[in-house]
Amino acid sequence: MPDIIIETKEVSKLFGGLTAVNMVNLEIPKYSIYSIIGPNGAGKTTLFNCISGFYTPETGEILYFGESIHGSATDFIASIGISRTYQNIRLFSNLTALENIMVGQHTKLKSSWLDAILHTPRFSKENKKSRSEAIRLLKYIGLVNFGDFLACNLPYGMQRRLEIGRALANEPQLLLLDEPTAGMNPHETKEMIKLIRQLRDELEISIILIEHDMRVVMDISDQISVLDYGKKIAEGTPKEIQANPMVIEAYLGPGGAALAKKYQDRRRKNA
């Protein structure tokens, strides 16, 4: 299907005896917001690391626009338009916010160290373009007037946004967001949801999202997959996932589904 941007086919990743990701099949449609949820240690981030090339899966294949990117280097994967953010923020903390974005443009620029020494026309043109582009992105993520702050001096919410800005500088087609609203207050979370929607609607980027905040997940996802112990246990729209007893048991433990049903019934009776 041409509408699939990335597809994982029976991907498994082992750490010694532990199967972190177990035969996972995913098909992510273009221009969608696709969430991956699951309890801690379910293998969500490991799956991200497989897609972005940090790990090479033991079995299976990852197809990007129908072509295998299995075993490719991380920098190559970035250069074909897959960007990501991290669960624990990984900015270049002693560079300014703008410089962080400019590092993000790396794959989009071509001038080499020799161009930089000789100040060739190519260098000057690219340098100018890169600066204006970076400032435009800075405005887009709402960090105007914070561009010259060191990344480590920015408040937490801004650091999260800046990380997304750095990922956007790569002009990605696919964006992997690893818990973008972790540790945010309700206001910041709202802003972040707005930004993620904008990315899809305005920039036409497909987004895979790992998230623990169910309000966020249910609010913005087009589709959701649930991982538990490395296995995909459910897939579907937010409504379907909410009603799925397997998912409830994964979160609440065995018997959880029955318990949840009981409480739901009681609430309905009281109302």
Binding site: R90, F92, L98, H106
Partner: protein
Amino acid sequence: MNSHPIRESFQKGIVFAAIMVFMMLTGFHMIAATLVSKIFGFYVLRGSIPEIRFMTYIHVLFGIWAGWSASGKTGKISTRIFRGLVAGFTAGALIALFDLILNFLIQSGTDIRQYLSALSFESMNYFLLNLGQIGTLVHLGIYTATGLAGSALAVFLRSESVQHGWQNLKSNTSTFITRKTETLPPFLQKYGKYLLYLILLAALLILPTMWGSYLNFVIGLVGLYTIAGIGLNIIVGLSGQLVLGFSAFFAMGAYSVGLLNAPEPHNLMWGFWPAIVVAILMAIAAAVVLGLPTMRLRGDYLAIVTLGFGEITRILLKSDTLINLTGGPRGILDIHGPTLFGKPFTSDVDYVYLIFAGVALSIFLYNRLQDSRTGRAWLAIKEDPIAAQATGVNLQKYKLIALCIGAAFAGLVGGISAARNQFTGPNDHTLMASINVLSLVIVGGVNSIPGIILGAFALKGLPEILREVQNYRQLAFGALLIVMMLMRPDGLWPSSRPLIEKENRSQTEENKTDEGGKDA
């Protein structure tokens, strides 16, 4: 509540007394007195004793310092002065006690130089200002009085009116300067920067001819270490790879120039300029050989492997294996210098010009590189290699480029210094050379050109100028490092990041005003 600051003053006095006693025990007071006499313009022959009054000056200065530091910044004026007095008296009393021991040693004629080599009778007498028993009392008097004076001075200089006046003076001068620059003719406003560069250039051209050959030698050394520091900074400061085998690249450069431009062992005599190009290329080749396998390593592992590379290079050059090729432990003698427009480089002045050109070139290259895609990729690798790779930076490639460019700088330095010294040998390229360059970068300030120049002065220039303290260099060095880590953990002149957004904003504003002018 009042007893606490007084106790502190006691402690201050004890510390100052202890420092003074240790200075005396190591014989450092004589060195310090020699330096002071040099400041006053009296040259002291090596091994002879400076005049007594300079020792008195040292005691006085020390007492004032003790009083100053004991007086504190807040509190009642009378208390603060009293605190200085207490510190001075404590220091004086303890030193007087020490004096009693010295007097006993002198009178009984006990020679304990076997244990404390610096504790000669001359040195003891000199410490006591040649006054013997009376010196004890004089010390007590001096320290008490100067402690009092020091605290009074501190109270006065830290008083509000003086501070206020000082602030006023500072702001007045700065507004005066800005007003003056605003009233300058537009020509000067626009090209004033270049004019300053021109003056600097002229100064750099004229000064070496006036300095004399010794100072030129020292300045040349500082310049060479500056180039090396900038080169190593590209590797360590920008790309964040801790490479300790930098001396191997010096060796490549020095031996290239040596082998190609000396009568022995090969008598090739290519001339300096082709040889220096080969020197740079050889250094780069060495960097590729070292870098291809090792640039996958990180941190400590890379440091150890590169350290090994440097040592292997040195030992190979020293060994008999390559004796026919490189001259073995004897090194290469009589390396010929460069000739420019038919004029051979003979004096130190010529080399200083050459080295200045090298420094200018390296600063130029560094500035262009660090504000570029490559430079930012290096910084990203230093900050977080994994995130850098995930933003598309090819780690191996960029680390290797950094290593090669840094090595090229080292090859240049090695080549020039071989020609300047007319000699190179394996002992010029020890691990200590690498560590010296690394420490000057760190002491001066990583990623900061003025910092690196300052660091080169502090670590290579000062020891040359202060030959008297040579024996105490390691001691002073250790003290300097500790003080620096406490006071300036980012180096003498820390770097700062460029303010791109601000620059851009002012540029767009300028454009707007330009357009506005056109509309009107």
